[in-house]
Amino acid sequence: MHRVVVIDYGMGNLRSVSKALETVGGNITVEVTADPAKILAASHVVFPGQGAIGACMSALNQLDLAGVIQTVAAEKPFLGICIGMQLLLTRSDENEGVNGFDIFSGNVRHFDLPVANNGRHLKVPHMGWNEVHQMNSHPLWQNIEQDSRFYFVHSYFAEPENNAVIAATTAYPDSFTSAIAKDNLFAVQFHPEKSHHAGLQLLTNFINWDGQS
């Protein structure tokens, strides 16, 4: 039986993530926890995150979870969501600069008042359902149609240095990286737990994933 852990560091709505996992789960347990022992004992780890990235990193440090996250990110099927994706990069421009875990080389940047084809400024945050263009045939994309819409809400986006880790892109209006993957790691800027059928399918795929890409 799979033991899925959602890392709880007090940032954001974890109930939706855990309820969505339970809904698609079948024979699994889902636990929302900050207990390092439970996180280390999990078969699958979900690393969510909402709000300001500086506050997220401080909360992780206060709970002494940074080391645990690096350990599980090196060995278990690991899904980062939203800030949980951004924190895997080297550094974010948000909050006057915040260092991430540097598991993926690259920076997290702000949308600079994007301009649409009609010359009008697009709104920031980038909020709503946008198309996710899959760049590879990763197991987490199984049974998800190319260019399916997922729910986004963010003002910053990841810019990985190595194009090979880009698992999906999205246009706003320029293309940005909406998912990254390498080895046992998969991370998304959108919210699968709020993305109806496509999102629940991605969570199903994650639970069924053995961490081999």
Binding site: R15, S16, T23, H121, K123, P125, M127, V153, H196
Partner: protein, 257 residues
Amino acid sequence: MGLAKRIIPCLDVDNGRVVKGVQFVDIRDAGDPIEVAKRYNEQGADEITFLDITATHHNRDTMVDVVEAVASQVFIPLTVGGGIRTVEDIRQMLNAGADKVAINSAAVTNPEFVREAAKKFGSQCIVVAIDAKRVSAEGEAAKWEIFTHGGRKPTGIDAVEWAKKMVDFGAGEILLTSMDRDGTKSGFDLELTRSVSDAVVVPVIASGGVGKLQDLTDGIKIGRADAVLAASIFHFGEHTVQEAKQQMASQDIEVRL
């Protein structure tokens, strides 16, 4: 192709039941919030908003139960408004499964509350709800003021300036309701919608007055709203969310079909 414009059914909730006020009086019962939310989810709603219409007068914990029940079964974004006054109110709703909270009267009473809330929980979950009423006479330059307490209390504050200020304070989205149009089924106040949408960088949800599908399309195309909110047009089965999206798509608006 890119970001889709959103259709947001709004459920006015009173004591755990969905109701819709016509100009905030003459309330009709339109059902159980969980069943209604599930139905809208199946129809392709992009988000669902719950407004606790009596919370300004009475505190009601039933809303927390409603949000918990819906969030366990419906996996699209949920917004809760009505009577959100403290950091603890916000925490309670987010923990129950809401993704965003809409702050209305409390922002007017204490604008710093919006700043505090955005700092604590992030702008992405802080919606400021603005109830605006046209105060300019015909022939004058258009001007709107914000009203609180279900549209009963004037504040003397200019609606467009207020929207800008709330975004400066950390609002991640504006829910803009025309009190002149709410419940009238005569369409959004498009001039108001456009004035606010052009004035702020964050998304604007148009609300108040939808009577037919074309009103939703007009809110996006003429009002330049990023999302449109409606209640009675969907509650009584006049139209489905899917029909509304097809109508919008037929007029070249990008939607999630």
